[in-house]
């Protein structure tokens, strides 16, 4: 994976066949914007650069920090004829809380199973803590705290017995911390796990994961099935604990508000590919939605004079008698006054959910 310094986002890359479906990562750095050309094969970067505008500075090309905690490159995985991951790439730096966002079936759990070494990728590279995962899966897992989507702990065990079982696998097991977490979470140590509620089980799983003193905490949709109160409580705990430990956290979810609550950086995955990797706010700021009465809609028309700054139309359709379109801009979406719009157009407020839907819908449109 390469990082190029570009003065502006250019659409050339995204129109290259090799980069189909590419969402680039943008990181402000010394007045420049670093653009990660995520899915471009390394050897084709030169040719890619050659077709870019002259103001692109190819000499600024640099490699991503090879000591990333998680580094997935072009991961592919199929189950029979069903392709689940189709060139997934992402990178998580030390100390980050990385939100891994995607719809159900987007490939999040498969990606996590690959990260855990439970499932093998058909193709691509998986590096954890700077080392190829395949070198020593067990050693890698000993540095990972994992909270699964479903808590499959032995129902006959009590939390105390569970700790006796689990501690044998983790050299860095911290019993004192486990007990502290049990106290903090108000979990009864002598009650059988089978009698716990979903929220209690998730807290117990988080306690187990944190008691291993992990370098990397992987949370695979841990709040699935929780009521809103329990979910909020759990997220607060995650935020608190990760802040305290400074452990790198990989948080998988399909709920964008959870991401907003805990993540410092996000990756959006759709149909097994990375659609976006970067911080949340630039993504949100780069989009805007306008609508017009469907009867006044003229094919091909735009809400304003955006042609120069428009990156692409992410979404377009009709809803409640109005034709609407979501545009993604190369930078922050322009603040447009009503009088600057063509007659009949209206600026609509976008929630984070709208942003997510726009991104994944666009991905599907490109796919089609």
């Amino acid at each position: 994976m390469l990082v190029c310094c570009l003065p502006r986002m250019d659409r050339y890359c995204c129109h290259q066949p090799e980069c189909r479906g590419l969402i680039v990562q943008e990181l402000p750095k010394q007045g420049q914007r670093h653009v990660t050309i995520g899915t471009c094969p390394e050897q084709e970067v030169d040719s890619l650069m050659s077709v870019m505008p002259a103001n692109v500075r190819p000499e600024a090309t640099e490699r991503v920090d090879s000591r990333a905690v998680i580094e997935l490159q072009n991961i592919r995985k199929s189950f029979g004829s069903l392709s689940v991951l189709d060139g997934l790439s992402l990178s998580v730096q030390p100390g980050e809380v990385f939100g891994f966002l995607g719809r159900n079936g987007a490939g999040k759990s498969t990606a996590i199973r690959i990260l855990m070494g439970i499932t093998r990728a058909d193709d691509g590279t998986v590096r954890l803590f700077g080392e190829p995962l395949a070198d020593d899966v067990i050693a890698a897992r000993q540095r990972i705290g994992y909270v699964a989507q479903e808590q499959n702990m032995y129902p006959w065990m009590t939390p105390r017995v569970l700790s006796r079982f689990v501690r044998g696998f983790y050299p860095r097991w911290d019993e004192r911390r486990y007990r502290q977490l049990m106290d903090d979470f108000a979990l009864p140590p002598k009650r059988r796990v089978g009698t716990f509620s979903g929220g209690m089980k998730a807290k117990l799983a988080l306690s187990l994961a944190l008691a291993t003193r992990p370098d990397l905490l992987i949370l695979d949709e841990p709040t699935a099935g929780m009521d809103p109160v329990a979910r909020r409580e759990f997220l607060d705990l995650v935020r608190e604990q990760t802040t305290r430990d400074g452990a790198t956290t990989f948080f998988s979810t399909h709920l964008i508000d959870e991401i907003e609550a805990v993540a410092t950086r996000i990756g959006i995955v759709e149909a097994g590919r990375t659609m976006y990797e970067g911080t949340l706010h630039p993504l949100r700021d780069s989009m805007a939605t306008w609508s017009i009465d469907a009867r006044n809609w003229v094919e091909g028309s735009l809400p304003g004079e955006f042609a120069q700054s428009r990156l692409r139309i992410l979404q377009e359709g009709e809803r409640q008698g109005r034709h609407w379109m979501t545009l993604q801009f190369s930078g922050t979406a322009p603040v447009v006054q009503v009088e600057q719009l063509l007659p009949g157009w209206r600026h609509d407020i976008m929630t984070l959910e709208d942003v997510f839907i726009a991104v994944v819908s666009n991905a599907n449109r490109v796919e089609q």
């Binding site: 189950f79 897992r141 479903e150 499959n152 032995y154 079982f165 044998g168 696998f169």
Partner: protein
Amino acid sequence: MAIASLLGKEAREHLGAALVLSVGTFAIVLLALAQNRAAAYSMSPFEVVRFSLITFLPLITLIVGNRLIVREYLSGTRLFVEALPVGGVLPLVLKYLLGFAFLSLLSAAMIMIAAYMAGIIEDVDGPYIFLMLGKTLVMVSLYWSIVFCFSLCGHLRIGLYLVTIGFVMLMIYYPGIDQSRFSPFALMDDQLFVFERDIVPWKDIAWTLVLSFAFTLSGFVLARVGEGSVADRLARPMTRRDYVALSILVIGGLLVFSTLVEKSLQESFEFSGDFVLRVTDPAVSVSYLEPEYREAGETQLTLMQDSLTAMQARLGLVQMPSVRLALDADREKHDIDYSTLDGVFITANWLEHDAYDDAIMEAVVLHGALTYFSGNRAPFEPYHWVLDGFTRWWVEQGYRELRTTHADELLARAQFALDRMPAGYDLVHQWQLMADEFAYPTAEALAWSAMSYLEEEKGTEVVVQLAREFLTKSVGENALAAIRDRRRSSVERFRNITGLEWQEFDQGWRTWVMQQAGQPSVLAISAQIPAFDGVVESVTDSSGVHHLYGGYQPLQSATAEKTVNNTSDVAGESGFVFAGSCLLKHELIGPFDTEFEVRDDNMDEQSCAYGDKIHSISSRYAPGDRVYVALEYETEHLHQPLRLAVKRLAVQ
């Protein structure tokens, strides 16, 4: 640490159940043993082990498999372990080993209990225990590997079990399939499992282990296909379609099973037609074929009725098994077929019988009746000699006056055997070998002479007591009494009944036989018995044709010099010809066949003479065949041939 954690988890999860299963198993085994002891005729305690292996050990294996594997997959806890820092195969390997270890320990404990209860009576020694243990553990490994493999097939396992049960039933009940001839059924053969002591069934053990390995490997492969996703998918709950398929399978299986059972069931056979004589108490029937044979049939009917009635009263038996005699006029008069599966069924030709021949047949009938009482077990026990000796004794002098001519011939035979008996042989521990070496007529004469000596020493009642003790007595009023009783050896039981130490009896009996053999009437018969040995040779010539050679040479053993008269018959190295005939009988046998007798079908009869190749047969046997060859001497002075030599040959 990871292994310790996994083992600790399994122990915490299953220890209670394992204890309950163990206690339950031992309770059942002890009950079965006690029941066995209290039965009118008791089996070997090792039969209980076999019974356990066939019946509830598979059920226990199912329970173990269900707890160790199925539960882990169905409840999804496998996914929890899967995410821990541990190899993917290790948890399953540990489960496999734990299951096998538990079942092995359980089975080994059963063997040990059986060995403890069997004691000396069963002639239990180290090699025998190891053989039993080996066969048992091999079967346990097969059960466990099947359950292990099927447990990883999720809900399909129920169907697979049903198919397997169906297959086993097919093997057992389908007429024409002798399942005892191939693995793994051969290991569980009702005769060989308990009674085989000398031959280790390596081939069956190897095949069974191969099967176990195949199932085990399949299980591990299944658990790893698609990183275990196949086993995971199969572990999901059954759908309606699965239930319908399963129901169809069960119904189909039951239909096939009932058809096979119906086909294999045989109703108790009864003679029909006009030429049948019957009495009801005891139940004896004689089929005599033609009107002109009626008289001979009536004689046999009366003979058997009298004998059985007297024996029933004397031994205090509630009911005798039904006895059926079928006349086969084409048979040799000493060619007697008998089976004891459904009462006693005898096929023989008694038309030309004299009193001695009748006594032989009568002894066979009584032998069958008492064998039937012992659940067909007595012929395989160390007290077999009591069965043989008592039946002949009963026929000769038990309920009638002793006929001296019979006694003379029997004594001559007994002396013949004692003269040639290897040092250290005794009736208890080498009875089967003696019967094999000298054939039944002579072995029976030996046993009869022992009973006659006992009668002379201790009286008739002691002989009857001995028969009651070994052949008909129910021992042990409860489990403890049964265990105590089983600890006594047959030698000890003999001493308790007779008041004689075995060595003392053995020595006295031998001396008595030799003294009796000195009577002129016995000497007259002994004089007709040649002092020579038979030698058998198996040769495959350069053209690949196999030859069997039988020859005779002067008796070399030192004991031959003791023979009072017949040494004088050995006139020279060659040229001497006896009045009788020399017979070479041969028959193909299987790897485990332990026949003592060989049919007359394959027989070469020659005039007796010294030489290596008196019998020369271009045989039909192929390399690898096992052939039973016997050399016998037949003379008009003896009612039955005299066995000179026997050999089991492996054709090269």
